[in-house]
Symmetry: D2
Amino acid sequence: MEQLKQKIPVAVLGATGMVGQQYVALLADHPWFEISLVAASARSAGLRYGEAISSRWYPEAPLPDRIKNYTLIDALDSAAVARKAKLVFSALELSDKDELRKVENAYARAGVAVVSNASAHRDTEDVPMIIPEINHHHADIIPLQRQRREWSGCIAVKPNCSLQSYLTPLFALMQAGYEISDVVVTTLQAVSGAGYPGVPSLDIIDNVIPFINGEEEKTEQEPLKILGEIQDGRFTPRSGIRISAHCNRVPVRDGHSACVSVRFAHAKPKFDRVIEVWNNFRSAPQELRLPSAPTQPIIYLDDEARPQPKKDRMRHNGMAITVGRLRACPVFDIKFVGLSHNTIRGAAGGGILNAELLVAKNLV
Amino acid sequence: MEQLKQKIPVAVLGATGMVGQQYVALLADHPWFEISLVAASARSAGLRYGEAISSRWYPEAPLPDRIKNYTLIDALDSAAVARKAKLVFSALELSDKDELRKVENAYARAGVAVVSNASAHRDTEDVPMIIPEINHHHADIIPLQRQRREWSGCIAVKPNCSLQSYLTPLFALMQAGYEISDVVVTTLQAVSGAGYPGVPSLDIIDNVIPFINGEEEKTEQEPLKILGEIQDGRFTPRSGIRISAHCNRVPVRDGHSACVSVRFAHAKPKFDRVIEVWNNFRSAPQELRLPSAPTQPIIYLDDEARPQPKKDRMRHNGMAITVGRLRACPVFDIKFVGLSHNTIRGAAGGGILNAELLVAKNLV
Amino acid sequence: MEQLKQKIPVAVLGATGMVGQQYVALLADHPWFEISLVAASARSAGLRYGEAISSRWYPEAPLPDRIKNYTLIDALDSAAVARKAKLVFSALELSDKDELRKVENAYARAGVAVVSNASAHRDTEDVPMIIPEINHHHADIIPLQRQRREWSGCIAVKPNCSLQSYLTPLFALMQAGYEISDVVVTTLQAVSGAGYPGVPSLDIIDNVIPFINGEEEKTEQEPLKILGEIQDGRFTPRSGIRISAHCNRVPVRDGHSACVSVRFAHAKPKFDRVIEVWNNFRSAPQELRLPSAPTQPIIYLDDEARPQPKKDRMRHNGMAITVGRLRACPVFDIKFVGLSHNTIRGAAGGGILNAELLVAKNLV
Amino acid sequence: MEQLKQKIPVAVLGATGMVGQQYVALLADHPWFEISLVAASARSAGLRYGEAISSRWYPEAPLPDRIKNYTLIDALDSAAVARKAKLVFSALELSDKDELRKVENAYARAGVAVVSNASAHRDTEDVPMIIPEINHHHADIIPLQRQRREWSGCIAVKPNCSLQSYLTPLFALMQAGYEISDVVVTTLQAVSGAGYPGVPSLDIIDNVIPFINGEEEKTEQEPLKILGEIQDGRFTPRSGIRISAHCNRVPVRDGHSACVSVRFAHAKPKFDRVIEVWNNFRSAPQELRLPSAPTQPIIYLDDEARPQPKKDRMRHNGMAITVGRLRACPVFDIKFVGLSHNTIRGAAGGGILNAELLVAKNLV
């Protein structure tokens, strides 16, 4: 990918929320994108971004001075946003999904490319849900999406954060010829996954919560669409693979872990082969040299007690998946542990990688 | 069980360790047992117990004043101990298992009933590994053990803490006629399971460790002996059930959680039936009214976000197993969450219940 | 105090909040009081208490079955409450203090004795703010309060939780003849002090917050009223003592710690004398044998690393103050560490002790 | 400072410990220094560094590949080390201070410049204890030290981590003409300050420990030497300032906070002036442009709830001190909160800055 002549103006919708903040942090020095405006709920509109954030800035990197002085726009005013941004990152937190779909559709109609973290459009039959290392070709539905809906813009979404720590490793094996039939996965998820204020401290100090509303359903269903194919102008979910998820909240700031047991449908790779497949896995983001792509998307850690959230979540700027503890499963074939940074790879970083993919495919 | 005429003098071996302390706390007002001495390593021998413990007292209940002034005996001096105790609770932490077996054997030879938390004798073919609600009848091997080994005492052990939060619920279902063929379980284990000093705080604040040395092997193998039968004077493990375990350390003080997926071999109970089986499950400890037995050993919590360690570990004084989140498993048949207090039910409380069972069976 | 003929019916206002829950837990088996109703905001009125609480029950003790089925009343309906309760524990969380004063006044006018945890009336010149071990005689203003305001009920309040861990130890010294002129205190406060949902977990995991809104002012000012006297029918604050407070929120569930440096105005007691004064301190609650009074209100711990929240907060059912680390202060005279349970001694337990005092003084 | 012609070869002593690891991490791309060898106890000697560290690598930055393969030398073999290093960073953890002094002296005698984190030489009358922003001129004693002791090398030490979060802010005020007479400080210290394994997790989850062995003495005494002067060839401590310290361990990974009350001896600056003094404070490290010097060593945060360890410890790569919450002290004159990263500014980073100062002063 050669250098862009000039940066693409982008907006962050829901910029005051936790994922919105992470977008602002990660886009600060982005080579392709430049934040031209920040938008949030009508309540915050008119405030300077720095004021609205006040002491609630969450990312490790400091809030960029330039953005601090931006005046927040009402995120529902898609016309105003569309005048200043060609692409928007939607981190809106509307509880009404119909309402949210309408807002995102209005942007697409106004000619804006929407890359969304929200779950409203994940089930929509002609909206791609993309993990660029897995299903980059799903973006190819966008011309059809535009034509059918008479949009000059478009919408692409990213999946739930909970599945990012194990789906790419599973896909790498499938792509190498080792079909998978059954997966039982237990996630240990960080509190940042619930946003801010999110999980009350009284609920999590010296405690574990074995339930996250809606999370197990997403963890079980979304992979089927991501691993599926475009047929007759819509996405058909992958069949032949069954996933069972147990999702837990644990007292960790960032980084979702997953304990995974896997049964192969036919051929069973040896351990060495599994590790080789993982460490050598490369895909479109690496081939296209997308700016946010980790050079090695899956890293196998040769240490019996890894990966660990605190120690491994920031590998490749929080964009790599770390895996470890590959061993035989007495019930299925293999088991392992996966880890990814939920607000970077699993949220804002994953969204930016999606946007980079759209640009590389000339879809913005 | 009627009241004993006079209390049985007992000793705690390894009384300064974390499990040893929990024994001291739980035995403080025990109706059948009275601590006649406390023993520890030669290094501490001669110290008053209160001095040796100093500020390292771990249980919630205060250190009993009476015991504070006991002088610690060398735990290797089984003859001295045997003069003052008819039963010992072994919470010895010797890393050399052969050595540990020799020590425990010496006590049995000296006429003492040994109830051990240590793992040294768990594989021994004529030593019962007992969870009284499950395999109380395994204690019936003791007369044979005595005869064969020419012991006037005996040895019984309890299993690892990690399996206590799910094995009794599984057994209740098996006993009700629902044979189980496959179990995938992920544990989220408290730091107290590693003893003291145990897990360094730098390893666990804002972190999860997806590995506990030897724990997965125990979690997978020990249930087979517990569910097995006495054949030809030794224990034959249960066949036909396969268990796969993922064991994690999480930032929780006490209480091991387990996320469990289960496949039944034949008949599959409906959810209502499963809950009914669990809530109505009673066994020998309840029928014999053992003093430490929870009146309801398995409690199903009808709340989508329970059980939780902080909120549920102390049910029935830490002796009940709480379960929740019963739901369909897309891969197997059902899934659920179990929880037990690892240093009470899973360690000292479980040991005391074993001792009570031996007394009730006239084996002490 | 002899046994009451029959229990006094009481209501808990704000019963669904964290302090309200703690009241419900602590009153479960109270010898003098019986909860006749629970009240909360209009929004919850009509719900059964158990439904309204759902999974948000906070105390260690279980939610009593009897109370679970109570129907919540609107706490603003003082007439309805007054028909069924002679005394109310107010744990209302209205942000408008004028409004709150009106509500509590309405109860007093309706003939109800109000014991309040709220801060609305703490500055009111004829409302006593009581720590029974310190200023039990402040309750003697109540006849005047009634006469002046034409109330058949009355209002008494308890002070902020942050000062409970050090004010009683300071008072014990003052009462023994050691006047105090200067105090610099730094508190390390538990998250339960902020109620529920209270402190977001993202703000406190691996973190300290060196600010609690309004807390330092309360910590510096309220002791002056408590240590003051009734003059001309109103409270005159104690002069001659200056307090400077630094208040921090730390990742602890329950238990406020305080690091205290003290300068005496005149005579300086030796360390042995200080400890003697503390351990022997008894006051009205002990003399009157109030049911919730700790038999020893101040406990000096002779261990260089104590008191600690996890280990010491539950002394005497959470009602005792533990102190430790008495040593010379290079700037002032002495320094020490104090600890109290913020939701028991510092909130609901302290309120109940106040109510017991009012009963013992025939003011209910 | 112009660029060095070639890098100075340095060794890290105690390289496997936590502070030693932090040295290895921070020196990875240092412009002046190059690690030529790593040394540790005899027990580890001969192992490759990566093997010895295994999974115990603590810093956020990854373990540099180059260093991973270094073979560990016995740190007591000063002759071997001296052949390959001109300067050593001593992070040795010998409990015997006499022994430690001997080891460090042997290095100085062998011609090596020793920059030590250990406390052995902090009281030595001709060894400077340096915070470069405060007492850079204390390094000027080194020629005398060499002459008197017939060393071709030299020794300089850094002070305890606990005082770094408030001493530089106090010094900035003193240097601006505001003499200080009294300081009462309470620290809230991170667990990494205790090294590894350090604080057991059972001691700190849901807890605070109000005691750190020896820490209050260091916090009260060391500033007097640092603020003192060279007289008659030895350091004379500053008089006229009294410090009282309360030191606590809190459940935070990195970052020591300090709550500070200050009385001025004479002139009392207004708040605006204090903030101006802090924000504009610059000293020798900034003037000499030492590579590790923060461009702004003291940063005042204009937010009522800051500084916070998680959010502010990494300012200027962990080398800046953040302060906040400046307000009036009802007992003294002002109070504020300070924060510094204990293993960077307070340990390895501070040591490297000291070494840079020695190089800039041509003392290596």
